[in-house]
């Protein structure tokens, strides 16, 4: 079953003069059609300005289509009357954790949305505890957010979102401002949520993170230009580089070795499989000598 459906989506930003008359428009999304099945972990890649974030902002109705439509769990995102239901269905996490934290105590921050929704206090307690446990931040429940590291803050932001039990989690470069340790923490948390059944839309510039997803979508110039498994996508090293993207280093290694006539698959994306192939290769090369 598809939880997200995008049909012929166009979006453009308009510029206005002082009389609110449209003076020009800049197309950002051009004819995007996508279906995302429930429970899928989708990574979205694309250089700055390719339209990734604009697309993501349609999933919970922050932006609405100029043309075409988007539905999430059967809700038309342009339907104002369903907006609250939509926002509970789709949780958003942004780049800068400091912009997403509103309270002075971690657990109060996680409770923020639930209180606004009028969830009974006993249930709020239960949901906070579960959310903090999921992101492995229970022991910081009474701490002040400003004393936490970037990765910890980002996990608190995620806890605040998952406390609403959304079916879909959209994360827009959640690790861009974090150090390697913080990045690892966030990626592990996201994978855990996905394993528990959440559909994940994950925007990133880190190719190793995208390699963890079920599916990779590549955007350029407001269009989806590639869509496939990480193996299928990363095997096209040249095409990715031509749109300003990278591939994981092990994929690049395999690609370079192939250029030198070495027989190694072009779709190697993890360290593990890459190491295995190289060990085999060398064993074979040495055997051939004897």
């Amino acid at each position: 079953m598809n939880v997200i459906e995008v049909k012929n989506l166009y979006f453009e930003y308009n510029s206005y003069d002082e009389h609110d008359k449209i003076t020009g428009s800049a197309p950002v999304l051009r004819d995007i059609s996508l279906e995302i099945p429930s429970g899928q972990f989708v990574a979205v890649l694309g250089h700055n300005g390719s339209g990734k974030s604009t697309l993501a902002k349609h999933f919970n109705g922050i932006l609405t289509p100029s043309k075409g439509f988007v539905t999430v769990d059967g809700i038309d995102i342009a339907d104002d009357s369903a907006l609250q239901r939509l926002r509970q269905t789709v949780g958003m996490v942004f780049q800068n954790p400091d912009n997403q934290i509103v309270a002075t105590i971690v657990e109060e921050d996680v409770a923020f949305a639930l209180e606004n929704l009028g969830v009974p206090p006993a249930e709020i307690r239960e949901r906070i505890d579960r959310a903090l446990e999921t992101v492995d931040m229970s022991r910081f429940a009474k701490h002040a957010p400003h004393q936490l590291s970037g990765g910890q803050k980002q996990r608190v932001a995620i806890a605040g979102v998952i406390a609403m039990s959304p079916k879909v989690l959209v994360l827009d470069e959640p690790t861009a401002m974090l150090d390697p340790k913080g990045r690892g923490e966030v990626v592990r948390t996201v994978k855990k949520l996905n394993a528990d059944g959440a559909t994940i839309v994950y925007i990133t510039h880190y190719m190793e993170e995208a390699a963890e997803a079920d599916r990779v979508i590549v955007m350029d110039g407001g269009r989806v230009i590639m869509d496939g498994t990480p193996k299928e996508i990363f095997a096209e090293v040249g095409r990715l580089k031509s749109v300003g993207l990278d591939v994981p280093q092990v994929t690049e290694l395999a690609h370079e070795l192939r250029k030198n006539g070495v027989d190694i698959p072009g779709d190697v994306i993890t360290e593990e499989e890459c190491a295995e192939h190289i060990v085999k290769l060398l064993a074979r090369a040495n055997y051939d000598c004897y």
Partner: protein, 283 residues
């Protein structure tokens, strides 16, 4: 010639309160003229606090900072002069853009230095060229540019003051791969052609390996090691233990070593790994 020297530099935040924290502990190091130094360390290791002392933005709670042979806190030293000698570019420097046009923004520093109209123009154009800021952007609003372009304009604004020492705090953070490469390449070319001293603070071992000759690894406010980049990063395991990200290709080399394939301990780039693997195959 030594251009930067710290002697037992120590900095404590919130001294005398229950929240007192020592962010930099007893750090002594020197930088020679023309060096390209990387500073790396986990979040909270004291990298940014340390660099903020090098142009006098923070006043140390212990120790000394010497720039171009002068103790910057000595009597008679004007800290304003030090700031013209040492340019400091913060993280997300594009947030500091504020002028109506790119030209005006880049000229803000030189103007404050009291240069003539012509002198200002010359410096703005030179800095713009160094950072790949197109001439036709100069009359535009900086806010109409993309993230990577804005970042380069902000860098040009600091470079226009022509500091002999340039400190960059995560100049490529948050940019996409193409933007990262561009910014770092422009910085590296500038280093070479202007012959200045550069300190690059980064989380990325890949970037440091590619551009810096020497690296200062910080851990918990102190120096973990300060040596040639190759030598420092050959201690992969220890580096990973203090919370730094090790490039995937280096982790691959470690994994291969465990399986009995030795590519060497200095594999940080894909090119080097390719070379070593091909070498082993030809043996």
């Amino acid at each position: 010639m030594t251009v930067i020297e710290t002697k037992n530099l120590t900095y404590k935040y919130s001294v005398g309160t229950p929240f007192e924290v020592t962010a930099v502990k007893d750090v002594s190091f020197t930088v020679e003229k023309g060096d390209f130094i990387g500073i790396i360390g986990h979040t909270g290791s004291g990298k940014s606090t340390l660099t903020r002392h090098l142009n006098g933005l923070l006043k140390q709670t212990g120790g000394e900072v010497w720039i171009n042979g002068r103790d910057i806190r000595a009597k008679g030293v004007n800290i304003r002069d030090i700031r013209f000698e040492v340019g400091l570019v913060f993280q997300y420097s594009e947030h500091q853009l504020f002028e109506e046009t790119v030209f005006k923004d880049i000229s803000f520093g030189p103007k404050n230095m009291g240069l003539s109209e012509d002198g200002i123009k010359e410096r703005v154009l030179r800095a713009a060229e160094y950072m790949g800021v197109h001439e036709n952007w100069l009359s535009r609003s900086p806010f109409d540019l993309s993230g990577g372009q804005k970042r380069r304009v902000a860098l040009a604004g600091v470079i226009a003051m022509e500091p002999r020492i340039l400190i960059l705090d995560e100049p490529a953070a948050g940019l996409d791969p193409r933007g990262r490469e561009k910014v770092l390449k422009f910085i590296s070319d500038y280093h070479k052609s202007a012959g200045i001293t550069i300190i690059l603070v980064s989380h990325s071992m890949e970037d440091i390996v590619r551009y810096a000759g020497k690296v200062l690894v910080m851990n918990d406010g102190g120096i973990f090691c300060y040596e040639k980049t190759d030598k420092a990063f050959s201690r992969v395991k220890e580096i990973a233990e203090i919370g730094l990200g090790v490039p995937q290709i280096t982790r691959l080399a470690e994994r291969l070593r465990e399986k009995g394939v030795d590519l060497g301990t200095d594999v940080y780039t894909v090119e080097r790994a390719v070379e070593r693997i091909l070498g082993l195959m030809r043996k």
